[in-house]
Amino acid sequence: MKAMNPVLKALIDYAVPIMFILLVAVAAPLSGLSVEFLANEVMMRLARNSFLILSLLIPVMAGMGMNFGMVLGAMAGEIVLILITDWRIVGIPGILLAMLISTPIAIVFGYFAGVVLNKAKGREMVTGLMLGFFMNGVYQLIVLYGMGKVIPITNKEILLTRGYGIRNAINLEGIRQSLDNLIKLNLFGVQVPVATLLVIAALCLFIIWFRRTKLGQDMRTVGQDMDIARTVGIDVDRTRVVSIVISTVLASYGMIIFLQNMGTLNTYNSHEQIGFFCIAALLVGGASVAKASIPNVFLGVILFHTVFVVSPRAGAQLIGEAQLGEYFRVFITYGVIAFSLALYAWRRKVERENERKKQMMLHRAALQGKGGAGFAQADR
């Protein structure tokens, strides 16, 4: 079993971020956007998305892979924001209340997702993906049909003309930029939403602390090897469910932060893409299905969103069609995920085959040893 050349290994491990850095280096100047504009855009997107992406870290720790089910948390956040807007609660109290109410809803969604994912061990990511689609249907049931009929809505502005069901886009005027504007600095021409960044920093600290708790350690054990965890006495199923619940709750908060920055809620579309974009960003930052840490989040969000901002214009310059830039940007998102997942799956396969070969060699050596020395080496 050969050891891989360390330089080659590093290149493969970080293939995706390297590709993206090259992409940025090429496309950014091509787009003709000023550095100040880019810096502002990226800062805004960093503040907007980081919380959501951070919510993905804990399931990776527990061996659940990329939590495509974070969409469920996002939906919980959206439902609550619709209610807050209907009740006309504004400003910071509005955001805090939204987070407060979304917590139990997200816990229920997360628990459901966790139980389902436990039944699909080995296929968590596909199941999470399909679960997200399924819950989208349930969400529509609640928001497009339930609200106004079963759930009382008094604010007529957000209802569809037929009397029930929420409109396609809701103005979140009341909480627009409430967190962002709380403490705002202007550094070298770049708007910095300090309060939001402080909240993100708090989450980072929480994650770092969490890793050291018993629950966190349990999760890492489960993530590394479920059988070993079981023999040590950890309730594997429960730990996995808890990891998804935490992730879902964090995702709901993250969605609330995201939406307060956007100022508008695209009732039926916001959450669909959020899953893909966040996972893509995390993968771009160098994370893999088995390993994801905080630096991956920030590197990823900066690289991914820079490409995001830059590609429509770059596409227009290059080929003459701005629409191409749009498609290019979507292609990059999916392509990155596909490439990262394929890379990871390939490496896992190689590792499994190496493990198998090693076992066979040990077995063979044991058989030979048995003939020679008279007792067999037990192999696992």
């Binding site: 399909m130 399924f134 049931l141 498609y327 999916y334 596909a338 799956a345 896992r348 396969k349």
Partner: protein, 348 residues
């Protein structure tokens, strides 16, 4: 008596039984809420004929152990290229249809081969990689549809002058060419698209016959126990690639059958989510991630299209509003989630 009943239930599978009963009950309720039973039957048959080949395309990959083909879009795109090129060459009628299929199969073989090589490299995680490869290729093709030098005025944007439209009609070319072949009309509301059904039967027969050949049995062996197959001297990787090519080719044929019935070619993001209904259908028919029989395809497609047709129309009439899209999302994806949570049969 009770044991026999239980045996029958587990033979059919509880979910299937429930959905079957649900479908029957919908048909029973239908007349009472103003939905015509005969038009409904017509719709179900028509939609079955439209979608069956796409569902059939999943069979080779399941048998060979590659899992559910979440990358069905690759075959669909090969089919789209075939259809669009056939229109560009201004071929109509049977010639157009056959040309579309021929070109589609050509591209499907190439795509399937590359796709098969990729899947071999990611054994064990095929499904999730396939999903995103499928999405990426659809997005890439969005760029291509705009850029490729197609000129036929029926297909390009009227004002832009270049780039294909999102939806292209096949009305004047080979619309309903299969459906109308030997069409049978029962009464004024039921039209059986015999041609399409015969075509499906032919394709299904080809698959059935294939799995009785040496290569076919080898494929099944690879699917149920790769180690044993390898020790028998079967080149596992090569057989898997063949199965992927077969699935992709069938998917390409399937989308053309779909288009001749539907009447339109849908480009850009049309194919994006096409793998999911097909997968839901075959799972509903009793297949699992690694086990499938031809009748799963038939039963599944009928049940799935039945639910998709009946539930919206009946429920819409009952509660006086249009819930079809939402119901479709819940049923279709719910089925897939359910199937994914089933324990995989232990490989011998």
């Amino acid at each position: 008596m009770k044991e026999k009943l239980q045996a029958v239930i587990s033979g059919i599978g509880l979910p299937r039984l429930l959905i079957g009963l649900f479908l029957v009950s919908l048909f029973v309720i239908a007349p009472f809420v103003g939905v015509r039973v005969d038009t409904s039957i017509n719709d179900v048959i028509a939609r079955f004929a439209m979608n069956a080949v796409l569902v059939l395309s999943l069979v080779p990959m399941i048998k060979s152990g590659c899992g559910l083909n979440f990358g069905l879009q690759l075959g669909v795109i090969a089919g789209l290229i075939g259809a669009v090129t056939s229109l560009e060459l201004k071929l109509i009628g049977l010639a157009g249809f056959l040309a579309a299929m021929g070109i589609a199969i050509f591209f499907a073989v190439i795509f399937g081969w590359l796709y098969g090589i990729l899947l071999n490299k990611v054994k064990g995680d095929e499904m999730v990689v396939a999903t995103y490869v499928g999405f990426s290729v659809v997005s890439l093709m969005c760029i291509m549809w705009l850029v490729l030098p197609y000129k036929s005025p029926d297909m390009i944007w009227a004002y832009g002058g270049s780039g294909l439209r999102t939806t292209i009609s096949v009305e004047d070319y080979w619309f309903h060419i299969l459906n109308d072949f030997l069409k049978i009309e029962l009464g004024s509301h039921i039209e059986i698209p015999t041609g399409a059904l015969l075509f499906f039967a032919l394709l299904a027969f080809i698959i059935w016959a294939f799995f009785r050949t040496k290569l076919g049995t080898a494929m099944e062996a690879v699917g149920s126990n790769p180690e044993y197959a390898r020790s028998c001297g079967i080149n596992v990787d090569r057989v898997r690639i063949v199965s992927v090519i077969m699935s992709t080719v069938y998917a390409a044929i399937g989308i053309i059958v779909y288009q001749q019935s539907f009447g339109f070619i849908q480009l850009y993001n049309g194919p994006l989510l096409m793998s999911f209904p097909a997968i839901a259908a075959i799972l509903l028919g009793g297949a699992s991630v690694n086990k499938v029989k031809i009748w799963n395809v038939v039963v599944g497609a009928v049940l799935f299209q039945g639910i998709l047709t009946m539930t919206p129309s009946v429920i819409n009439n009952i509660i006086q509003s249009d819930m079809s899209e939402t119901i479709r999302i819940i049923v279709s994806n719910g089925m897939i989630v359910y199937a994914l949570t089933r324990k995989m049969k232990v490989r011998a």
